[in-house]
């Protein structure tokens, strides 16, 4: 099984971080994987996206141009990548920031108010992890296991105090 995931949003939304979390989870689970960021020179506000491939086979091209799973964290990302998703694929939409509905009828769509839910947890920067929690629940290629171990790897040593809130954000998304 191969799952090609494209996470896209603004710089600062934790797009790359969410991808790293999924990549570390894949590593722990002994999968083949690749993680490839693409972003402009801006620290915040520019577009950022991240290709993650998790597979039982060796990974060919690390560039996800036809995602099985699209995580759209803002409207420009949905506009840009909606048509690229494979038929039968999944689109996760941050419905706090994206008002429109997905036009495609041949994909599964999940509207997650992740930015609002993260704000309610007093963790406005963790919409990415709320969304990732939901992805883990719905996507067969991404299990709900090894969350803690992957979080420990991806949260840097000096921010280990943030493990718990990240875990909570994932749980919040998973519970939806």
């Amino acid at each position: 099984m191969t799952t090609q995931i494209l996470i896209a949003g603004f710089g600062g939304q934790g797009v790359l971080f969410a991808g790293k979390f999924l990549a570390y989870k894949g590593l722990i689970e002994g999968k083949n994987l690749s993680w490839l960021p693409s972003y402009g020179p801006e620290m915040r506000g520019g577009t950022a996206n991240c290709s993650v491939i998790i597979s039982d086979e060796p990974v060919g091209s690390p560039i996800v141009s036809e995602p099985d799973v699209l995580i759209a964290m803002n409207l420009p990302s949905l506009d840009k990548y909606e048509d690229a998703v494979v038929p039968g694929g999944m689109i996760f939409v941050d419905s706090t920031l994206i008002e429109r509905k997905v036009k495609r009828t041949d994909v599964k769509v999940f509207y997650v108010p992740s930015t609002k839910l993260a704000a309610e947890m007093n963790a406005p920067t963790l919409a990415n992890m709320v969304m990732t929690g939901k992805v883990m629940k719905e996507c067969p290629g991404v299990s709900g296991e090894n969350i803690e171990a992957a979080l420990k790897k991806v949260v840097s040593a000096r921010h280990q105090d943030l493990l718990e809130i990240n875990f909570k954000a994932l749980e919040t998304g998973y519970a939806l």
Partner: protein, 354 residues
């Protein structure tokens, strides 16, 4: 089996270099290779090594020249515009017959260009780059694992042949993360009697130099160097052959282009088109033999590149005009997707021009 870790390609180069006994790094930051310098900045002070951010790329490469003269393993890294600045120093290092590693994590050009991946420094890397007659051994990683493995190999080859080696990567290889098994620790095993290490009054001093004002002497150094190059061309060309056994359409691609090409080969075969891939792992020396051999079997060659067509010239020289060679390319920081390569091969298969 050793533990797999998740690393960016840039970091894998840095860690592999340290494990290969490189304790001297000189550089100047530039996207998309900065993680390499950052990793060195963090690690070198802890292991008694030297990380120095020079005032410019020109200064950095001349610091490399200095340490290389002492026989110590040494490296620098940059991206395209920065590597252009280093060319004078690289020519001096080649002229003084010194081993060193130069890493180029390529970005789109020419000029200041952009920060997205590219392979458009192929000519510069493989045909000399600076002034004078010289070559670098040029290795082209196609995975994070190879970013590590080829770094270690580059140091070994540079020592063995007393010449600079280059790791010619691209922004994708530098920025992507993949699981990697880091190589074990190794060190230079080649004796370096030419090194400038202090004589302690016990021997005649060594001179490291690239200046020969007497043409006869300078000519002699050139001929001697090219005898060595001929041996390297015969013995050190490396490549991977993928689904070439019965291939009619031979893609030739390295680095990220080879990764995308593999997807295209699999998809083309599913459509009944017998495609295969020859992936050069060294681009100098270029793997001429497998391409010459393939020329007797395949219908056409397709050079897949992130440039306006540079490697295609070496493909043509290697297959000696026996079969048509087409170009499938993107440039300026864009990467062809498998669909574009598939469309290109399908068009050729139907007898169309591309």
């Amino acid at each position: 089996m050793a533990e797999k870790v998740l690393m960016k390609g840039n970091e894998a180069i840095a860690e592999a270099a340290i494990r290969a006994g490189c304790l001297h790094y000189f550089g100047y930051p530039i996207t998309p290779q900065t993680e390499l310098a950052a990793y060195m900045a963090k690690r070198m002070p802890k292991i008694g090594g030297v990380f120095l951010q020079a005032e410019s790329e020109v200064a950095a490469i001349n610091m490399v020249y200095g340490v290389a003269s002492t026989g110590k393993r040494v490296m620098t890294s940059s991206s395209s515009p920065g590597v252009s600045l280093k060319q004078e120093g690289i020519s001096y290092i080649a002229g003084a017959d010194l081993p060193a590693l130069i890493v180029n994590v390529q970005r789109g050009g020419p000029g200041l260009g952009g920060i997205q991946p590219s392979q458009s420094d192929y000519f510069q890397a493989t045909k000399g780059g600076g002034h004078g007659d010289y070559h670098l051994i040029v290795l082209t990683p196609s995975s994070v694992q190879e970013m590590a493995d080829l770094t270690a190999l580059a140091f070994d080859l540079a020592d063995k042949y007393r010449m600079p080696a280059m790791l010619l990567a691209d922004g994708t290889m530098g920025q992507m993360m993949e699981p990697v098994v880091l190589p074990g620790e190794s060190h230079a095993t080649v004796e370096k009697p030419w090194a400038v290490t202090g004589t302690e009054g016990k021997r005649k001093h060594n001179v490291v130099n690239s200046l020969y004002l007497v043409p006869d002497e300078l000519e002699k150094t050139n001929f001697e160097r090219f005898e060595r190059y001929a041996y390297i061309e015969e013995n050190e060309a490396r490549y991977e052959s993928y689904m070439m056994e019965d291939a009619e359409y031979c893609l030739v691609a390295f680095g990220i282009a080879a990764r995308v090409s593999k997807n295209a080969v699999v998809a083309l075969r599913a459509k009944g088109i017998r495609a295969g891939l020859i992936r050069p792992i060294t681009v100098w020396p270029f793997p001429k033999k497998p391409i010459a051999e393939a020329a007797g079997k395949v219908r056409v060659f397709v050079s897949v590149e992130l440039s306006m067509g540079q490697m295609i010239e070496d493909v043509r020289l290697s297959e000696n005009c026996k079969k048509p060679v087409y170009l499938c390319n993107r440039a300026g920081g864009k990467i062809p997707n498998p669909g574009e390569i598939i469309a290109c091969v399908e068009k050729i298969a139907k007898g169309g021009d591309v």
